[in-house]
Symmetry: C2
Subunit: 268 residues, 2 copies
Amino acid sequence: VSGAFAAATAVERSGPDRFEGRIPQGWDVAGNAHGGYLLSLAGRALSVATDRPDPVTVTAHYLRSGRPGPVGIDTEVLRSGRRLSTARATLSSEDHSLVAVLATFGDLGDDATPHPELIDAGPPELPDPEQCERVVPAQPFPPAFMAHLDLRLHPDDAGFMQGARSGSARIRGWVRLPEHEPIDTIAMLTVVDAFPPTVFNVDLPIAWVPTLELTAHLRRRPAPGWLACEVRTRFVSGGFLEVDGVYWDLDGSLVAQSRQLALVPRAD
Amino acid sequence: VSGAFAAATAVERSGPDRFEGRIPQGWDVAGNAHGGYLLSLAGRALSVATDRPDPVTVTAHYLRSGRPGPVGIDTEVLRSGRRLSTARATLSSEDHSLVAVLATFGDLGDDATPHPELIDAGPPELPDPEQCERVVPAQPFPPAFMAHLDLRLHPDDAGFMQGARSGSARIRGWVRLPEHEPIDTIAMLTVVDAFPPTVFNVDLPIAWVPTLELTAHLRRRPAPGWLACEVRTRFVSGGFLEVDGVYWDLDGSLVAQSRQLALVPRAD
């Protein structure tokens, strides 16, 4: 355990398929434990259960809100192959299931052999982090959880924090962990849920967007330092919206893609 | 049961959490049961298990290939809420797990109350279906499974079938079920895996792309008739590629989004 994030997501094996962890105070959004953080907790357990270092594709369905205190993670390995293992996990608190996870883990450091490559997009254009707007906890927004990330938004996309929406359901920015703690692939599961709601930048009557489901695809371990990120929403319809994220490291390499489906509370 | 697709995806409850189905001959890609079809089979069971008509968000991880014959689907409902229920399923054959599924189901016909709406894209521009190229089974490609769909590709994106790649990792086209069988939301789980590999249109040494994981988000029940579809790949890297799909009905409404992560066999 080498930093605050690693400590907050540490788990201990208490049985062949069972792990114990703890949600600390202050890792919440309006009192509820941050969804990406809960996924990192489950990810630590799944990495041990599958004996693979890196999540490759991870899906979480959010069932109930988490509060500070002890949590258990039950895992089940469904298949162990030569390069990849698939498993599921349920993160629960006092017998209430909070998050259900289905994931495939592997080793993204195993990159000796060349792969075919096509990269049909690049990192978002961003001013230096010092020229971006840091997201700092306040009441009622941004949430307390933001103390645990160093998140800097593109000035063109950050006006909503002062009530000036950009008109485009997109947020670009930099993210890293505080105190130079490295972002490993498990911490990426928090990063992919770290940005403020994209719809805060458009003129729709939406005050909160509870995540129903989140899927992350990881392509490589991030290089040290800032990640350049872009999240956007194309479709608010049927009572749902998606948030698509793309995450790049300072080498200019694609680290991850994410998509989540969130509920849009009814306008009535 | 009102058509060939409904018959091929029929399941029978054999216990409180257990369903039985059968993979027919001919629903395969090079001998392996089609992945989207297997997900529809699991989806029928999950719809009964959750007592909800429509998948809202469904993720499948593919563990092993399916062959014609009997399959069992074990389900577990994790949460039943007022509007949505979350459950998981394992589809297996002779004690081998083939597909693991995590899904949230609801009622997409329940649309009396207005929702906030933002639609920042539209259906792909397509010639009439009669001017598009129908995908008909042949040896070794297209696969036998294509007999069970009526799939018509945009002529600009279909040249790869005669060895002329478009240069863009994108395929647009129309899809419907044969004999005017309606596409319900369970059949949509097949549609989101129905298109040929996008990378067949670019100059990369990739001959097959086994799906590791597939997630579909459904926004509404499709109107009768053709669906206008577009699938594309932006990133081939790290030994993986994603395929993003968007599906529209003839009313011009967004029906579904999909994303899958596929393995890219090593170039060596």
